[in-house]
């Protein structure tokens, strides 16, 4: 479970996020939705412990992520936006590197590596160097390596950007499978349909603030719009009119 309370972060003159609070429970898929530049990535990077918040609190399964980032990192699998794998290493080596960094060794590591390779349909390309991989193959290897230690929390920043249908479908399978296994999945997107189709709960973020939180149904009611896209725009507008 992720608990975020009153998170704020400023870059120079720009207040990237302010007072961001939400809870992403385990066994649920939480979608972080918002237009470009709303503060989704900043929020997720703080949760991933690669950025430091100016103020606020982040609890990862009860662990204070700001005070004990190492412990928090053992519990999360992070797929940062625009991240890539090592081109000179094979898919398997890339995954094995992260497994080793997460402290997995020997037969247990091998078993975990084989399992994520299967989960992300990487068998065919597992022993090929990543240099020539397609965008979709890249994302699948990135996702496999961040899940290799079986984290209870998955944080995915715009994972579906630029993916073909097949990879999107594989990704969706994995997200649903993880949720059913009791994981907490948090992912960001600016594509309404995919959030609506996948998420149990939606957090709409706009201009660094949380505009609305709830299920798709809750949001339709709160904004008085039947269509989720209209609801999204209404929620963003609501925030803008402040």
């Amino acid at each position: 479970m992720i608990e975020v309370t009153g998170l704020g972060k400023r870059f120079g003159d720009v207040q990237a996020i302010e007072g961001v609070s939400f809870v992403a429970p385990k066994g649920r898929i939480t979608g972080l939705l918002g237009p470009n530049g709303a503060g989704k990535s900043t929020t997720l990077r703080i949760l991933a412990t690669v950025l430091q918040a100016d103020h606020g609190e982040v609890r990862i399964d009860g662990v204070d992520a700001l005070k004990d980032p190492l412990e928090a990192r053992r519990r999360i699998g992070v797929l940062p936006h625009g991240s890539s794998v090592y081109g000179n290493m094979t898919a398997r080596e890339n995954i094995a590197y992260y497994a080793a960094l997460q402290g997995l060794t020997g037969a247990a590591a091998e078993a975990r590596i084989d399992r994520v390779i299967g989960q992300l349909y990487l068998e065919q390309i597992a022993d090929r160097r990543a240099r020539g991989f397609s965008q979709g193959q890249h994302i699948r290897v990135s996702l496999a390596r961040c899940m290799v230690h079986d984290p209870s929390i998955l944080i995915l920043d715009e994972p579906t950007n630029g993916l073909d249908v097949l990879t999107t479908r594989a990704l969706r399978h994995v997200i649903l499978e993880r949720r059913d296994a009791g994981c907490c999945v948090l992912f960001s997107s600016h594509v309404m349909q995919e959030v609506a189709a996948l998420c149990d709960q939606i957090v709409i973020i706009s201009r660094g603030h949380v505009a609305v939180t709830g299920t798709a149904h809750d949001i339709r009611i709160a904004t008085g719009k039947d269509d989720l896209e209209d609801a999204f725009l209404a929620a963003v507008d609501l925030e803008d009119s402040d």
């Binding site: 690669v50 190492l70 990192r73 940062p80 625009g82 991240s83 090592y86 290493m89 160097r129």
Partner: protein, 400 residues
């Protein structure tokens, strides 16, 4: 396996996968460099040997007026071409023709015997001989010096005979006897030639690891693999130390190749023919390796620090190029203004290694205090650079 070894192993694995780049950095400068240096040095040395030993021929205008002088020059292995410019007409025109030939580089050096040479000589006066040469030409210098020395020797001989004819002892005309007392040992003389070896070794170390240092810092960041790595449960200091050590491994390989390559290449230098001894055997090679190793640690820390400060691969290459020159500046300074080893100088990394290497090459005893000071100061600077890099890695600026 702990995080440090995991990262170190992965960086080295990835480094060796880029074998083309690795081979270039490890083979070009460290392996080929010493042979190239020795080849050029050997060539110039052979020339120096040849210059002293070989007979030369110089054009002379008016040589027919000074048969004894010409005979003396021939004894000094300087052949005189008396027919040169004979078709140019009178003395003045032939003199001018010789000057033009020297100016154009066609002839290195020539002499002109004055028209009144025989008369002046007979009258016991100073007979004039011009040495026509271009003092701005380095190539002509050895030959010009030989001609001047031979002329001077003849002048002294004839002067001595004149004094004796007048019943005066020749030493009356030579109140000063300037004697040569060269205290240099054969190893010291060789060091003049091999002094650049130290500079080269330090440079080879820096060059050897610059590629991998950029790859694993700015390169990792630019390719987008740094951010997910920072979300791994590994301390930033562990990460930095592993990256510095990976760089150090490559630099150590570069150092070893350079030293071995020099040790082999130096055996081809004709030092013995010039009365020099190359103090460069297995023991000296091992000493060089051990003395420079602390500098490799500093260089690794420096390269990683410089590359971490940057946002892109290209920028990192610029930074590391500058960082590569900085440590070698004291060495250049030392080469221009030779200095004696002392404890304060041992506090300066690079310079201290250079001076210690000089001692090894000159076959002089190494002062243990100097070695300890050099190692300690170099290690201290390296530690400071690692600390700066750790700070950089802890700062979120690294990924913004």
């Amino acid at each position: 396996m702990n995080g440090f070894l995991v990262v170190l192993q992965k960086e080295l694995l990835e480094g060796t996968r880029e074998w083309r780049a690795l081979a270039t950095t490890l083979l070009v400068a460290p392996l080929v460099g010493p042979f190239l240096f020795v080849g050029i040095t050997a060539f110039t040395m052979h020339q120096a040997i040849d210059d002293v030993a070989a007979a030369i021929e110089i054009p002379a205008v008016g040589a027919e007026r000074a048969p004894n002088l010409v005979a003396h020059l021939r004894q000094s292995l300087i052949d005189v071409d008396a027919e040169a410019f004979a078709d140019q007409g009178d003395q003045t025109a032939r003199h001018e023709a010789l000057r033009e030939a020297v100016r154009s580089g066609e002839v290195e050096v020539g002499i002109v015997v004055a028209e009144d040479f025989a008369e002046a000589l007979a009258a016991g006066q100073a007979a004039r001989v011009w040495v026509v040469a271009d003092s701005s030409s380095n190539r002509a210098r050895p030959e010009t010096n030989r001609v001047r020395t031979a002329l001077g020797a003849w002048s002294a001989t004839v002067g001595g005979i004149r004094l004796q004819l007048r019943g005066i002892h020749p030493t009356v005309g030579a109140p000063l006897a300037v004697l040569r007392d060269d205290v240099s040992t054969p190893s010291r003389r060789a060091y003049l030639l091999l002094g650049i070896v130290g500079y080269f070794v330090l440079f080879a170390v820096l060059i050897g690891g610059s590629q991998i240092a950029v790859d694993i810092t700015a390169g990792e960041r630019e390719r987008g693999s740094l951010e997910p790595l920072l979300a791994m449960p590994i301390r930033r200091e562990t990460l930095v130390l592993a990256k510095v050590l990976a760089t150090l491994v490559v630099m150590t390989a570069s150092l070893a190749i350079t030293v071995i390559s020099f040790a082999v290449a130096v055996q081809f230098l004709p030092l013995g023919e010039l009365g020099m001894t190359a103090n460069f055997g297995v023991v000296e090679a091992a000493q060089m390796f051990l003395l420079v190793f602390p500098f490799a640690a500093l260089a690794a820390a420096l390269m990683v620090a410089a590359a971490s400060l940057t946002r892109s691969f290209r920028e990192a290459q610029t930074y590391t190029s500058i960082a590569m020159i900085a440590p070698t500046l004291p060495v250049v300074f030392a080469a221009l203004r030779p200095m004696q080893d002392s404890v304060p100088l041992m506090l300066v990394p690079a310079l201290s290694q250079h001076l210690l290497l000089s001692d090894v090459l000159r076959a002089e005893a190494l002062d243990p205090l100097h070695i300890v000071t050099s190692v300690a100061s170099t290690a201290a600077v390296a530690a400071m650079l690692v600390w700066l890099t750790v700070r950089r890695f802890r700062s979120e600026k690294l990924i913004l």
